[in-house]
């Protein structure tokens, strides 16, 4: 799947994560999290796994995490990528 346009998913509420994806030549991931010190690597790995599963090779993904568990991060990234790819 290709990121054709900017799209967002999720919220800034507790246990959620706000995800923004934008077109980009390379693959860039930016993480802001209330549990950054403990979980930044795991969050990045989760995001990369979802992108790989969806066949996304390039794009900028910015997340603002409010303590979301893995399956929530996965859901929000998938939603944002599908919205950016024109799927609803």
């Amino acid at each position: 799947m290709k990121i054709n346009t900017s799209a967002v998913a999720g919220t800034l509420e507790s246990s959620d994560v706000y995800v923004k994806v934008e077109p980009c030549e390379t693959l860039e991931i930016e993480i802001e999290s209330v549990v950054y010190n403990q979980f930044a690597e795991q969050i990045e790995a989760t995001i990369k796994a979802v992108l790989a599963e969806l066949g996304v090779e390039s794009g900028k993904v910015s997340v603002n995490d409010k303590g979301a568990i893995d399956c929530v991060i996965q859901a929000r990234v998938e939603t944002a990528v599908k919205r950016a790819g024109g799927e609803k």
Binding site: C71, A75, R76, T79, K82, K88
Partner: protein
């Protein structure tokens, strides 16, 4: 055993994560009214992931899907049926054909994913005047239907009357739903009591629903779950009496008696059936929740 059913908005992670610790026998993961049209896609994916990764131990999962008049309901089923939730709640169900349409599509998805047919059951939400009139046909429309559920808010909008705490405006619908469900051999659930802060009102409303024959009641607030569970559980006196009935029957059989009485009252088949139902509920409540592992 399903006394209480608690609605959880499908696009709210902190509630989805904690759905099984709120004391409800079932939770309804809501993809319909609790989710705005712009967020349907997000909720669908989030609920699918919750079903896939969260265990929800000792708690039945029901997914409320969007009405068949929308573009959403098939996508809802595509995402959640592969995860085999206990039940699907189709909404705005007004006739038997609405049930068949949903059931047939579930069968398609089940087949696509190698799931045995009729694994996922249905609890149609009846919330229109036409739906109430067709309650028996809906309840007996398909072998997936395990229960029917009355939605009082939309119904009163359709009836063009005000929804009140007393509930006189839905009295006919409640009676008709109970009769239809029992005639079809399925369970029947009452509409939520919507004043979250009025716990006395909740008890009264639940007790009245129980007196009409409802199996249980839905809730929009975790604060109502305990009251609903209490009202729809047998009392200790009910349990003691049920055991006395079964013991009396056992002794009568041993003695070869055809007709028996307890405390001066003849014990006939309906009393035995009721006693067995009470003992079954006692086991479900006090005998521990069966682990599905």
């Amino acid at each position: 055993m399903r006394r209480s059913m608690l609605f959880i908005p499908g696009n709210t992670p902190n509630l989805l994560m904690n759905g099984d610790v709120l004391g409800s026998d079932s939770i309804i993961l809501d993809l319909e009214d609790a989710v705005s049209p712009a967020e349907k896609d997000a909720a669908r994916i989030l609920v699918r992931n919750a079903l896939k990764h969260l265990h929800y131990k000792g708690c039945e999962i029901i997914v409320r899907i969007n009405p068949i008049e929308t573009d959403f309901w098939q996508k809802d089923l595509d995402e959640v049926i592969p995860l085999c939730p206990g039940m699907i709640m189709p909404t705005k169900v007004s006739c038997a054909n609405d049930v068949k349409v949903v059931s047939d599509y579930i069968a398609e998805v089940e087949a696509r994913h190698g799931i045995e047919k009729n694994t996922v059951k249905l609890i149609p939400l009846i919330e229109t005047a036409m739906g109430v009139e067709n309650a028996f046909n809906i309840a007996s429309a398909d072998e997936r239907v395990a229960a029917i559920f009355l939605g009082g808010e939309d119904l009163t909008a359709d009836l063009r009357c005000k929804r009140t705490k007393e509930g006189n405006e839905i009295f006919y619908a409640r009676c008709r739903m109970v009769n239809a469900a029992r005639a079809a051999g399925v369970d029947v659930y009452d509409t939520p009591f919507t004043d979250v802060d009025d716990i006395d009102g909740l008890y009264k409303d639940a007790q009245f629903a129980k007196s009409l024959g409802f199996t249980g009641k839905a809730s929009i607030s975790p604060r109502h779950v305990e009251g609903i569970n209490e009202v729809f559980s047998p009392t200790q006196a009910d349990i003691d009496y049920a055991h006395e009935v079964m013991e009396t029957i056992r002794i009568a059989k041993e003695q070869g008696k055809g007709v028996v009485s307890l405390r001066g009252k003849m014990i006939d088949a309906p009393i035995v059936t009721r006693a067995m139902q009470v003992i079954e509920m006692e086991k479900a409540i006090f005998g521990g929740v069966e682990d599905d592992e």
